[in-house]
Symmetry: C2
DNA sequence: CTGCCCCTTTGATCTGAATCAACGGGACTG
DNA sequence: CAGTCCCGTTGATTCAGATCAAAGGGGCAG
């Protein structure tokens, strides 16, 4: 699989508009041949968002879809009195903005500088209709996100504070590991408040959980918002809910 | 849309194997013409599950996919110490068993007598590959379920007990209303414990929330596990999190 | 009809995490 | 370089919901 993808990457002409895209093979673009990819790319444009800027707000009509190539966003909903829930963090390779509704149900805000491709929804849909291989990839991505969302449901419904934080950290480590198998340090571009709003906790409780994991020797907190994984197994036990 | 579907339903020959299926147009079967539908149906078989029986367990290899035609199931995960989270309730017209993993991450257990069609996953995938219109429906269903899952994430992460119960009830009422616009009574085939395990609460808290909603005159509890909607608006305010 | 079981409801008490409060530190600003 | 702001951490107190406990009711087997 990696080899095949490697070949396809190598096969892309030098002057191809997606030639420098680092996440091409992590998203459905990887399912397209060079020519189709160029056609696809021409449907949209690229842009950058600075920290705090939003690609769209809850309630906006969904006119564009996005493909993130660099940086992290948070996808959140606000309740009328200010309570906030971050449904998920969006990372390079993630697709964003697809909705069955006419209107976005969440706000997508950049946590750090974000580069992305954007496509008018109508054109995107037409292209997808004409390219079944895209449809298949889209379905696979939706299924994947659904699995992640249900994992989050288990976390929010039944796990304790420290189990939630352990699960969150492991998910981050595993995401890094998918690319660098022996990388044991992860950067967390989001604040404690963001993590809390993702895990259904408060920033104080998240902070205490980090401290507790550090004291138990499972992780180390490194300057510049980084965390090192010291002992994976007990962290996995905690995350799985084994009352450790 | 309803008219178009009505026509398509009427167009199905009398002796068609799906002729009596009441949910055909609620699921992707509705996107198939009579002949293709018959071919599709022939790929699998129908069966019934009694209350308490499981279509599959967490950890089983995912060899079959299911289409529920009657009855309700619960889809749940157990943590090692017995904590349980019901990811969702599955109803007629819902598709079940699709997973990106080789193995089911949840158990699907019947709450009441359940009729369903089942298909070997491999054959189903092949059929879907050959019929792009199915792929599109599958994607739409996955996107729909993802939206529902994220709604549940907001509920579990940030809503209070009574807001959760109000949201749950409204979702039930709306599901009924989609078919019978002025129907204000809904049957709840699941126990208080099931509802609690869906909403991240305990059965006692769920029961107290029902009592509170009844005392406020928003709902009435009717024998035979039924609930009547008396005042929709305040219930909607509660569900939206307006601190009523 | 009786007894058993399970479900629901209600009450009393407990507790994990929220809230309230304070402090230290890094980044930016004027 | 003082001032401000935001972030993270830690401590004290509070509270929503969990847990523990008990009683009532419907369904069903014998």
């Amino acid at each position: 699989m990696t080899d095949e993808r490697g070949l396809r990457l190598a096969a892309l002409p030098r002057d191809h508009p997606c030639g420098r895209c680092e996440v091409r093979l992590d998203t459905f673009c990887g399912a397209l041949k060079a020519k189709e990819l160029a056609e696809f790319k021409a449907l949209g444009s690229t842009a950058r968002a600075e920290p705090g800027q939003c690609l769209f707000h809850e309630g906006d009509t969904a006119e564009l879809v996005f493909n993130v190539t660099r940086g992290t966003l948070k996808l959140y909903r606000l309740l009328p009195d200010g309570r906030r829930q971050i449904a998920s963090f969006i990372q390079p390779g993630d697709f964003l903005g697809l909705t069955v509704e006419e209107v976005h149900a969440y706000t997508a805000e950049a946590l750090e500088p974000v580069d992305y491709c954007r496509f008018p929804r109508e054109r995107f849909d037409r292209f997808a209709d004409e390219h079944p291989e895209i449809g298949r990839e889209l379905y696979a991505m939706a299924a994947h996100e659904l699995a992640a969302a249900r994992e989050q449901i288990v976390l929010l419904g039944r796990k304790t504070a420290i189990e939630r934080v352990a699960s969150f950290l492991l998910a981050r480590f595993d995401r890094v590991r998918a690319r660098n198998p022996d990388w044991e340090i992860v950067r967390l571009p989001m604040t404690r408040t963001d993590i809390a709003d993702h895990l259904g906790l408060t920033k104080e409780t998240v902070s205490r959980a980090f401290t507790s994991l550090r004291r138990r020797g499972l992780i180390a907190l490194i300057p510049d918002a980084r965390v090192e994984l010291l002992r994976r197994e007990p962290l996995e036990h905690l995350a799985a809910g084994e009352r450790g």
